[in-house]
């Protein structure tokens, strides 16, 4: 059986022209997404994790042609989405929907909740009568926990959590096959985060949705994903089924991210050792040679500057020349 979504060597490169450049000087290339492979089965969730600026949003945009991308994005084993024209792509936009990071900013302030949720229906199902449209909108609102009398309200009257429910309702009203959630809870209070994640989980189970769930830390992804992919500077560092990744992380970057996740038990939290990531994220316009993580890697050797480690194609794959569990010497000071 072929996967719902099969991504091969996805690349997104932005040409950066600096102010004052002459028209004929070649622009510098910013490789925001640099050769990513993964498969996603129907009804499953892929968690995507990485620091700010590592290319998570660009990956999501590249998949649905919101930015020019190269490589292959094969939908249901038959269509390469990247080879489609704008018009051909329209059909697939109803099957793949997105939920955005900033709940309020992703809603048009001049439209009512009802108009916002109805927009995908208006775009793709102009055959529906307005009653039928209203019925579907109402059903969707109920499904995500919005009260029917809110239908004529405007976004600024709602809390962040409710705005995100509106965003989810808009994304699901077309009954898509794949939902791409770009940090859907990062902007919400911690108490609300769990509610929204639970809602997404419920909806996924009921509707048989596949999801790509983007987050910048591992703790959120842990609750919702079957598989987790860790990105760094536009590349995959490690990708594994969730249990394998959390039980036995192989890549020093994954280990560092994991050690930064707070442990609820205060005693254990105090005893915990963290792997300190030295220095800043290198500029994506001038990534380090060899392994892109080497400038901050506690395990780096001289070889790491020469060879680009490849993640390979295993279920649990690691792009590191020296994979393995954390060594005692890599642990930093006690917190």
């Amino acid at each position: 059986m072929s996967s719902l979504l099969s991504v091969r060597d996805l690349r997104v490169t932005f040409p950066i022209t600096r102010a004052g450049d002459m028209p004929w000087t070649a622009p510098r290339q910013l490789r925001a997404v640099n050769g990513i492979d993964f498969d996603l089965e129907a009804g499953k969730t892929l968690g995507v994790v990485g620091e700010s600026g590592c290319g998570k949003s660009t990956l999501a945009r590249g998949l649905i042609q919101m930015v020019p991308a190269s490589g292959q994005v094969v939908w249901r084993g038959e269509t390469d989405l990247l080879s489609l024209s704008r018009r051909q792509m329209k059909r697939y936009r109803s099957e793949i929907q997105m939920v955005f990071q900033d709940p309020l900013a992703s809603l048009n302030p001049r439209m009512t909740l009802g108009q916002i949720i109805a927009e995908p229906l208006k775009t793709h199902r102009s055959d529906l009568s307005s009653e039928e449209r209203r019925r579907r909108v109402a059903a969707m609102m109920e499904r995500v926990g919005l009260l029917p009398q809110m239908i004529n309200r405007y976004p600024h009257e709602f809390s962040g959590g409710q705005c995100q429910r509106i965003g989810i309702a808009r994304a699901l009203v077309m009954e898509p096959k794949l939902l791409i959630c770009d940090e859907p809870v990062s902007a919400l209070d911690v108490s609300i985060q769990a509610q929204v994640v639970d809602l997404l989980k419920d909806l996924q189970r009921d509707l048989g949705l596949a999801m790509i769930f983007i987050a910048h830390d591992l703790s959120v992804v842990k609750h919702i994903s079957e598989e987790v992919m860790v990105l760094y500077l536009g590349r995959v560092m490690e990708k594994a089924p969730k249990s394998a990744l959390f039980a036995d992380p192989q890549h020093p970057y994954t280990q560092a991210l994991m050690s930064a996740v707070p442990i609820p038990d205060p005693v254990a939290e105090r005893a915990k050792k963290v792997i300190a990531l030295d220095g800043d994220l290198p500029s994506p316009m001038a990534p380090p040679s060899g392994c892109v993580f080497r400038t901050r890697c506690p395990r780096a050797q001289s070889e790491c500057a020469q060879t680009v480690p490849q993640p390979g194609t295993d279920a649990h794959r690691t792009a590191c020349l020296f994979p393995g569990p954390t060594k005692q010497s890599e642990l930093g000071h006690e917190m």
Binding site: I64, M66, M89, K90, R93, S94, Q97, M98, F100, Q101, D102, A105, S106, L107, N108, P109, R110, M111, T112, L113, E119, P120, T123, H124, G145, L146, L147, Q149, M150, N152, R153, Y154, H156, E157, F158, S159, G161, Q162, G167, R170, M174, I192, Q195, D198, L199, D202
Partner: protein, 304 residues
């Protein structure tokens, strides 16, 4: 599964009907005294232009032979003679002429501003939304047009094709759309990066629909403000042209033309010939400026 506290607070907030961003703005506008004063002024001037003829005892063309030749002595403002605002130099009723001039000035201002707004909004929103090379070319064209001394061109047109009010409308409108286009384009660029536009694109909404449904409604505030400030500028432009003697053709007149005539005869002591048109001119300009200012204050605080 559903959060309950969140919802309860939201249902308590208010009535069933949503409080639209417009309703908030309206409330702020109604509380602004200067703006309301401006609005009342404008309503008064508009009523004067539309219904002032009802009170007039003479038409705007008729020469009053009773006062002719003795304008300074007999042509002054008087209820008894029926010339409420006096007469002009030829013995025509200044009241009727002021009504008519106000009509023309308002029409030039409003029509000119409308042309500017429609053309400028469509042009600017398209350039800003499409972006890239199209945007560069479209805006470079505007730069070039802007470098043309438009007053000179307009005067040339009026001289060549005769003094027609259509040319005046079109000319004045076509001059001012460019500034509008620039403003709208700038605002569109900043809107384009917002997530709700991206959300619409991701769903597959077509570009013209995005411009009409998502961009323009979010610019209406800016457009409304700019329009109310544009109308008096149009009126000023028209007056300037009339002042040069190139505006509307007799017996039609405009406030600018009346002011020009009044200024020419002031030396004979017929101050009313300048005073009344000038009064209406100033009232109109103040009205628009106050309303524009009030609109800006009412629409600004939250959005931008």
């Amino acid at each position: 599964m559903v959060s309950t506290t969140e919802q309860r607070t939201a249902t308590q907030v208010g009535p069933r009907k949503g409080r639209s961003p417009w309703a908030d703005a309206r409330r702020r506008f109604l509380r602004n005294k200067a703006a309301m004063g401006g609005l009342i002024l404008l309503l008064f001037v508009a009523a004067f232009a539309l219904f002032g003829d009802v009170l007039a005892q003479y038409s705007n063309e008729e020469l009053d032979y009773m006062v002719m030749g003795q304008i300074v002595e007999l042509g002054g403002p008087s209820i008894a003679s029926g010339h409420y605002f006096g007469t002009d130099d030829l013995g025509r009723d200044l009241y009727a002429r002021t009504v008519q001039g106000t009509q023309i000035s308002l029409a030039v201002g409003v029509v000119g501003a409308l042309i500017a707004v429609i053309v400028g909004t469509i042009y600017g929103a398209t350039a800003g939304y499409v972006g890239g090379r199209t945007d560069s070319i479209m805006m470079r064209l505007v730069d070039i047009f802007m470098a043309v001394p438009y007053m000179f061109v307009l005067i040339l047109l009026l001289v060549m094709y005769g003094r027609s009010i259509t040319i005046l409308f079109v000319g004045v409108g076509l001059i001012s759309w460019m500034e509008m286009a620039r403003i709208v384009r700038g605002q569109t660029l900043s809107l384009k990066g917002r997530e709700f536009i991206e959300a619409a694109q991701a769903t597959g909404v077509a570009a013209p629909v995005i411009i009409a449904r998502h961009i323009v409604p979010n610019l209406l505030g800016v457009i409304a403000v700019y329009t109310t400030l544009l109308v008096p500028l149009m009126i000023l432009t028209e007056s300037f042209i009339s002042f040069l003697g190139l505006g509307v053709q007799e017996p039609m007149t405009s406030l600018g033309a009346l002011i020009s005539e009044g200024a020419g005869t002031i030396a004979y002591g017929t101050t009313w010939q300048l005073g009344f048109p000038l009064l209406f001119f100033v009232l109109t300009l103040f009205g628009f400026f106050f309303v524009g200012d009030g609109l800006r204050d009412a629409l600004d605080p939250k959005d931008r």
